[in-house]
Amino acid sequence: MIYILDTSSNQLVEAEIIPLTSKVNMPLKKDGWNFNWRLLTKQNNTQAYVLKLINNPKTVEGALQLRVEDGIMIMDVLEIAPHNVGKEKRYDYVAGVLIAYACRESFKLESNYKGFLTFVSKTKLIEWYKKKYGAESALGQRMFIAWESGQKLIEKYLNRSNDE
């Protein structure tokens, strides 16, 4: 079961990741999202996903876009909802859950790159990715999460139990 943390009550709440396929779940710029998710969903060899609470399916808490290129899993876009950013964030673990989900998808590849999740970090966040998610730098801002770290993230963020 997937849980994210309600920072006001310090309680874990059930969440789910579903493919972004309809307008209903679309993160929109007018709501403070940075990326134009509407355009992304039209691209080939990509799949976008959104993270939502089970008991509040109208609000998107985070969004992820994965793309496979030459057998490599690329986390091309990772964005958390405006209300989940900064010290006053409503929910925590949103980025962790989405990154763990992307790592899990990378295990399904049938290529030499099975188990590697790759992405381009924002310059300021390189150390954050390293420290918090076990990512490694490879070339400039290009980073990857290898299978050992990926597996740990999957256990931590996707197989969490509510009695923690």
Partner: protein, 164 residues
């Protein structure tokens, strides 16, 4: 000295990967080297994890167009581990002909065997029972489709109110 960790101040956490560049080629080469440096044991663990995730996905998927029997997953395990069916049958103490029936779905996996398979393949023994239960429910749902329509909570309550 530890580098300072900057928490995200903006919801967008990645840049998009430019895959049409020499830098991407270099990045890919680095990943390939990493991948080739894995030990045989590491590769096997990755394959086993990938299979575990595929089974979990099958159980969680509500789209049931592609029914997979438990035996198919066992076959995948044996292929990944390069273990011959006869050798496996001998190891778990059943006749090769019975294993063959089990792999084809002509014999069910009992609880004891689920425990053995769970132990060997490092998965929750329940998954073997769940795969069978899911497939049987799907089959019955199709066969008894019309018959099931006559049952509803509304009818049950109406019958009770009428003192039938």
């Amino acid at each position: 000295m530890n580098k300072k960790i900057t928490e995200p101040e903006n919801g967008l956490l990645t840049n998009q990967m430019d895959v049409n560049s020499t830098d991407f080629d270099k990045f890919q080469a680095k990943l390939l080297n990493k991948s080739r440096a894995r030990t045989q044991e590491q590769n096997l663990n990755i394959e086993l994890l990938a299979l575990k995730y595929k089974i979990e996905d099958y159980l969680n998927n509500d789209n049931n167009e592609d029914v997979k029997i438990a035996g198919e997953f066992i076959k995948q395990y044996l292929r990944t581990l390069r273990i011959k069916q006869n050798r496996f049958a001998e190891y778990i103490g059943i006749k090769p002909s019975n294993l063959s029936k089990l792999l084809k779905g002509e014999r069910p996996i009992n609880y004891e065997l689920a425990l053995i398979l769970g132990r060997i393949f490092k998965v929750n023994p329940m998954i073997w029972i769940e795969i069978q239960a899911k497939n049987e429910l799907l089959r019955l749902k199709q066969v008894k489709h019309q018959e099931l329509f006559k049952y509803s909570l509304k009818d049950l309550l109406r019958m009770d109110n009428n003192g039938v």
